[in-house]
Every structure is written in structure tokens, then in C-alpha cells.
Symmetry: C2
Subunit: 227 residues, 2 copies
């Protein structure tokens, strides 16, 4: 389903070149649950942004669902992002002037979903992350873990085929974090493909495979449970 072949991402900073990703081969099957681990700065978020079509590789090839991503137009890429992929950002990326509910409604608004239905689906999504009582707070009126959960609700509200979650439990206590992971388990059971970046071994082991990065490369892959 998701396939990287020789994918690199380089940044130029003045004279220096930063190799955030350096020749990565990996694949994620349809319906698989994979976690990604590695030291801070090893390229995990960069990899997730490429998987989510939010950025393009400097070198190499990314094939998503049989389509080479480089061949897609800007519009087609936006279409893939908004209908197939739910992305939970490491730093949440909520719109500061919108309430939690409006932030969660946004992807549905892009899809032209009517207002009453959007509102209902957004409130349901917030309820699933135990945030219904904060639906009309703005991001600066929310705690760190509450913002993180709004970001999760927003990613899930379009019912995407692929969920890409960049450290989704980093700001959550263990009870609320477990609720989120159980939610991911239930989604996975319905056939959703899930990729989670995490710094916690315990969280990583909820997946079927763990891909470990180091210095922009795949260091090794572990099978946690067979398919």
C-alpha cells in the first residue's frame, strides 16, 4: 500500500546539507499497524510528512496505493490528503482562532459536508477522545493533552483509510493514552492502516511491526505479532 524506494530528504542550511532521511526503503501493507521509533532527530516526523503527502522526497520514489506520488498534481495530492489520510501532527497544528469543534469540522468542511452533519460528526469525534466538555474552547483555552486530543479527533473525523499519528500520546497521562490506543486498535480491527511514531516501547508494541530509524536510515525492523 505505502512503499518507499531509496527515499531521501535533504535540507540545505547555508553551506551545510542536513540529511533528514537518507536512502530509506520501507513498505506498509494495506490494513497493517506499524510503529516507528528512533532517537530525537532521526527522521521520524520527516518520514511521516512524506508518507502523508505533505512534502516530497529529494530523491527516491513513493508509491501510495499503486500510484507514484511524484506524478500527481497539487490538486490530486490535496484530494488524497483530505480523503484517504488522517494526520496527527507532533505539534498539533490547530487553528488558534477556531474552537476545538470547528477545528475538528474543518476537514469535513473541505469535503463539502453540510453544516449540521459536520457539527454532529465533530462532536462525536471529540466524545471518542473524552473531550466533549471542551468542544467550544479555543486551543489557548485547552491543556496540552487536550490540544493533542483535538488533533487526534480532527484526523479521525473523515474516517480515513490511513491514520498517520506522530507521537499521539506524548502529552497524555497513561489512562487517557490507553483510551487513544484502544481507539486505534478498534480502527485497525475495521481495516484501517495505522502508522504511529512513538518514543515509548510500550506504545510501539501495540503494533504488528516496529521500524527503527537512526540518523535518517532504517536501522532494523522488528515483527511484534504476525499478520
Amino acid at each position: 500500500l505505502l512503499e518507499f524506494r531509496g527515499v531521501s530528504k535533504h535540507y540545505r542550511l547555508g553551506e551545510a546539507q542536513v540529511r533528514a532521511l537518507d536512502g530509506v526503503d520501507l513498505h506498509v501493507e494495506l490494513g497493517e499497524y506499524v510503529s516507528i521509533m528512533g532517537p530525537s532527530g532521526s527522521g521520524k516526523s520527516t518520514l511521516m510528512h512524506l508518507l502523508g503527502c505533505l512534502d516530497t522526497p529529494t530523491e527516491g520514489n513513493y508509491r501510495l496505493d499503486g500510484v507514484d506520488i511524484e506524478t500527481l498534481s497539487g490538486d490530486a495530492l490535496a484530494e488524497v490528503r483530505s480523503t484517504k489520510i488522517g494526520f496527527v501532527f507532533q505539534s498539533f497544528n490547530l487553528l488558534p482562532r477556531l474552537t476545538a469543534c470547528s477545528n475538528v469540522e474543518l476537514p469535513l468542511a473541505y469535503q463539502g459536508v453540510p453544516r449540521t452533519e459536520r457539527r454532529a460528526r465533530a462532536l462525536t469525534a471529540l466524545e471518542r477522545v473524552s473531550l466533549a466538555k471542551r468542544a467550544f474552547h479555543r486551543p489557548n483555552e485547552l491543556s496540552g493533552g487536550e490540544r493533542q486530543r483535538v488533533a487526534i479527533a480532527r484526523a479521525l473525523v473523515v474516517e480515513p483509510a490511513i491514520v498517520l499519528a506522530d507521537e499521539p500520546t506524548g502529552n497524555l497521562d497513561s489512562r487517557v493514552g490507553d483510551d487513544i490506543l484502544e481507539l486505534f486498535d478498534r480502527l485497525h480491527a475495521t481495516g484501517v492502516t495505522i502508522v504511529v511514531v512513538t518514543h515509548s516501547e510500550e506504545v510501539a508494541r501495540r503494533a504488528q511491526r516496529i521500524i527503527r530509524l537512526r540518523d535518517g536510515r532504517v536501522e532494523r525492523v522488528e515483527v511484534v505479532r504476525p499478520r
Copy 2:
């Protein structure tokens, strides 16, 4: 050293009142290492902002080093914040147009430290969090865990008497996270007062006492190790 008596923090949102903190009594001794735990939304960051003189209570009294905080002028409060307290924010609060190094230099610039000395101290602080090689990147050219470490370096560069760190290892892998905690241990050994908010029991147990919040109140206090 740090004493709350009956401290509350309420927010008004339209008709509703949110009690982020609700009648909190607590104390932290000079030179003590305390951690704060509790569910997402239980009031930890609110408590830290009050401890750090970044905000004022709605009710109750905060005495810092024998001084009632309500009696201090805006200037005097700013003085306390910039000289006595190093604050690591849960969402980092870096200035986006400054490099990591300039972000770390900022508190020293406020204190009138000359440019060459500021630069040297900032680079040393970045080195202590293993970030010397990213000193001239801007925040959007850094990973999540790298931004977190810039925030830590900035808090420590003024050599404060009190370090308030709101989830300082949330975005870090275990190796880098342990380095940060060992740095805090070394500071504590020199007499620095340390308060760390964390969602990890393991991180919390590095402290001498754990204060547990629930729904804006102190639920209980555990002694981890005697003074």
C-alpha cells in the same frame, strides 16, 4: 520557599466557569526536587504558570521566598522571573524567527550580558542538551525533541535558583530523556530547586516527592525519598 495557600484559578467561558485550580495548598522547600502528576486537564500547567509568576491566582495566596507575589509590581515580577526562575514550557514557546542559539541567548540579553559572553553561554547550554550541531537552525528547521531541548537550554542558561519544567521529556527518546534527567539531578545536587510536571511514573520517581493533582486539587502527596 514556594508556598500556595488556598490557591484557585478560574476561567470564565461565556456562561460557564472552568476551575482549572480549586483551593490548592502546597509547599516546595528550598533545594527540593518535586514532581507533579495528574490526568490531562487536571491543572498541572496552570499550577506551573502560577509558580513561575507568569499568571496570578483568582483566589488565595502565593508566597515565594518570603514575599507575597500579589504585592509585587509588574517590573518586580519580571525581575523575579528572569533572574530566579527557569521555565520550560510544555509547548516550548520559542521565537520562530530566531535561531536556537539566539533563542537561548534571549534571557541573558534581557539581563544585559555582553554579546560574546551570551553566545558562549548559550552554546554551552546547547551542548549540555546535545544540540550544539543544531545551534543555528530555526525552530521550524528542528525536530520536536530538538525544540524541546532548546526550551530546556534556554531555561537553564541563566543558572536559575528554581527550575520549573512542564513535561520536559515528552518528545524525547529514552536515551536523550535520561541525559536531561541526569542534568536535573546534577543541578539539584548543587542546590537548585526543581519542579517537574510529567506523565511518566519513572520520570516522577527521580524526585523526592510526587504531588498528584486531580480536577484542579491536590489528590495526594507521596514521599519518594527522604531529604
